[in-house]
């Protein structure tokens, strides 16, 4: 069993089956679909509350998603811990700033990579909340509940993502 947990990669099908079961378990035990982007709203709301005071709770969006350390926020530190454990056990944990594929195309400038990542992150944050969910919330949890809006969102995530990837890296042949 230890050997299995220490493998650097599992079959994507095994991982997918486990995630499907995990989403079902979360719906039963927590009455929530697993999603990640709401957690960022919670962290942002808490940060604004610390720097600007309680009046930010009057913002319409924070009334809908009140800033709090709750289930949706805790998903995020959980994922960080889980991914750390997985990579640490398998010996693949390692600090880096520029991913190899990015470096091949755009060079090893850390400033350029961070600039792109911040810009991408901003679009991702706006888009996720605009669409009402992300790859896990819409793409997996929503799709398996046969939500039309979720399946439509997930398709658009990939249409936009594929377009941007091919603008940056060209069309692979």
């Amino acid at each position: 069993m230890n050997g299995f947990l220490a493998l650097p990669l599992w079959s994507p099908y095994l991982v997918g089956v486990c995630i499907g079961l995990l989403v079902c378990l979360a719906l039963v035990l927590s009455d929530r679909p697993i999603g990640c982007s709401t957690g960022f709203v919670k962290i942002r709301g808490l940060a604004e509350q610390i720097c600007c005071g309680k009046q930010i709770q009057e913002k319409e969006y924070y009334q809908k998603f009140p800033p709090a350390v709750d289930w949706q926020l805790m998903i995020l530190p959980g994922i960080i811990i889980g991914a750390f454990l997985s990579s640490f056990i398998s010996g693949t944990f390692g600090l880096f700033l520029v991913p190899p594929l990015w470096a091949d195309q755009f060079g090893s400038s850390a400033a350029l990579r961070i600039l792109a990542a911040v810009t991408g992150g901003i679009l991702l944050g706006v888009g996720a909340r605009w669409a009402g969910g992300c790859t896990s919330g819409h793409g997996i949890s929503g799709s398996l509940q046969l939500s039309v809006g979720s399946i439509l969102s997930a398709a658009c995530f990939f249409v936009g993502g594929i377009a941007m990837a091919m603008i940056l890296f060209g069309v692979p042949l």
């Binding site: 089956v17 035990l29 942002r44 991408g120 605009w130 997996i140 439509l152 692979p172």
Partner: protein, 186 residues
């Protein structure tokens, strides 16, 4: 067994959220989906790992959720879709997805395996982005976000078919597509 007491227990839910996150992050990392190169490989259509994970999760979840829902253990959480929300937001998300190379869940997983671009770039950008959305939300939510609302919330309502048929059909379709992907060498 009734879990409604557990759903209301805020402290227990904080712990459960952390636990679900840990298992989710562990699985995403083991699947390779927290790696920039793997995600960009998917968006460049050269590496189908991310699709394989998502599609098999949906196939299992379709059946699992259908059974749990009918047995009264799980509620359906579905909102009416809208072109102005799901398509416009989805495309903005997609452009960010391709530029950053992580999504909101995998960016956290990437931080856990040591990706500093995910921490100082993606995480920071996401926190700025959701703040921008919170600011513009009041002017969007009664206008663009509800533009082109789709009245049928679920696929079976939209198609006018029994739910079980859509679940079985969806599962068979996903498995057949995954099989074809493997046969084609992806």
């Amino acid at each position: 067994m009734n879990f409604s007491q557990l759903h209301k227990n805020k402290k227990a839910q904080v712990v459960l959220g952390l636990c679900f996150g840990i298992v989710f992050g562990f699985l995403l990392q083991k699947g390779g989906a927290t790696s920039y190169d793997v995600i960009m490989g998917q968006l460049l259509l050269t590496d189908f790992t991310v699709f394989k994970i998502m599609a098999s999760a949906v196939a299992v979840g379709l059946v699992g959720f259908f059974l749990l829902n009918h047995a009264g253990y799980a509620r359906r959480h579905v909102k009416a879709g809208a072109i102005g929300s799901n398509v416009v937001g989805g495309l903005i998300f997609g452009l960010g997805f391709g530029l950053l190379g992580y999504c909101p869940g995998t960016v956290a997983g990437a931080v856990g395996q040591g990706a500093l671009d995910a921490l100082f770039g993606g995480f920071v950008g996401l926190l700025i982005g959701v703040g921008i959305f919170a600011r513009v939300y009041p002017s969007l939510h009664r206008t663009l976000l509800t533009y082109g609302t789709i009245k049928k919330e679920t696929v079976h309502e939209l198609l006018g078919l029994p739910e079980w048929l859509v679940v079985i059909g969806g599962c068979i379709g996903i498995v057949a597509f995954l099989y074809l992907l493997e046969v084609a060498g992806f």
